[in-house]
Symmetry: C2
Subunit: 171 residues, 2 copies
């Protein structure tokens, strides 16, 4: 089974992200707007209980942190993905690190962690220039407290279903 770990921001931020994703993100229908904490990974289903124990332990030792969005950025020239930049506060960066340690959680991390909420991807070059050109000058001003992350699994159609929520500082 393919699993992934993400934070779903507040409804307000999700609604804002969706106003762009609707037009510019082909993954719009597969998952609500999110911050990926760990890239999708394969795991045998009989390991799921061990995985959940590790995630509970990690959540227990994580404190709620502030999620702040001030601007839009892009992964160009690597890809033309446009995203709401999430400020890399220490507790969020530490959470990402913890999710790449342990016995069951795969430890490889292909890219360095740049916390973000994707709002556009797989655009043509011209479309990318238009959209990013108009968004990069805009100011955004979102702030919320994050106190949980979610373990999801992927269906055959590419969509994601939440398996379990892990709340910070709890058993």
């Amino acid at each position: 089974m393919k699993y992934g770990i993400a934070i779903f921001p507040s409804k307000k931020i999700q609604d804002e992200a969706n106003s762009f994703r609707k037009r510019y993100d082909p993954h719009y229908a597969l998952i609500p707007p999110h911050v990926t904490l760990k890239e999708p990974f394969e795991l045998e289903e009989d390991q799921i209980n061990d995985l959940i124990q590790e995630l509970k332990e990690i959540a227990k030792h994580t404190s709620p942190f502030k999620l702040e969005i001030k601007k839009v950025s892009s992964f160009s020239p690597v890809t033309n993905t446009i995203y709401l930049k999430v400020e890399p506060v220490p507790e969020l960066m530490k959470l990402n690190e913890r999710l790449h340690s342990g016995n069951v959680l795969p430890q490889e991390q292909t890219y360095s962690f740049v916390p973000h909420i994707t709002i556009a991807q797989k655009l043509s070059h011209d479309e990318y220039s238009d959209v990013f050109g108009s968004l990069k000058m805009q100011e955004f001003n979102f702030e919320q407290t994050v106190d949980r992350f979610q373990l999801m699994y992927q269906l055959e159609n590419g969509a994601w279903t939440v398996h379990e929520t892990f709340t910070f500082g709890q058993e």
Copy 2:
């Protein structure tokens, strides 16, 4: 905010349901296949913590139960919704009842509870007859254990995001 409570069945059942939903259910992209335990309800955001306490209490007193699917059925002539019929085992029916009691959870229930996973809705009359005609003779044979339900909230685009998972028999 609009909230809803549902069970997401196993990946296997979700994949099966999606093979129909993809063509026959306009809600396909808004939420993965699910058993609705409680119809969407409005709640002020400052009541969410009380709601979660009630749901934890209900989950704690619910035992895991068997979810069994043997056939397809339909709400015709009320609506032409087609669904995978979920056997109404006592623990599931009791869970639905409990979700309509308490102080925060709205108690009204418009329809009597018929546990189901929708696979087709809002079809034209002819389409409905075709699809239901070919599915109603088919045997289905799915069985799994359910040990959790999910509290979701609805975004402006109609899609649902999971807020929290409640596992049976746990604090």
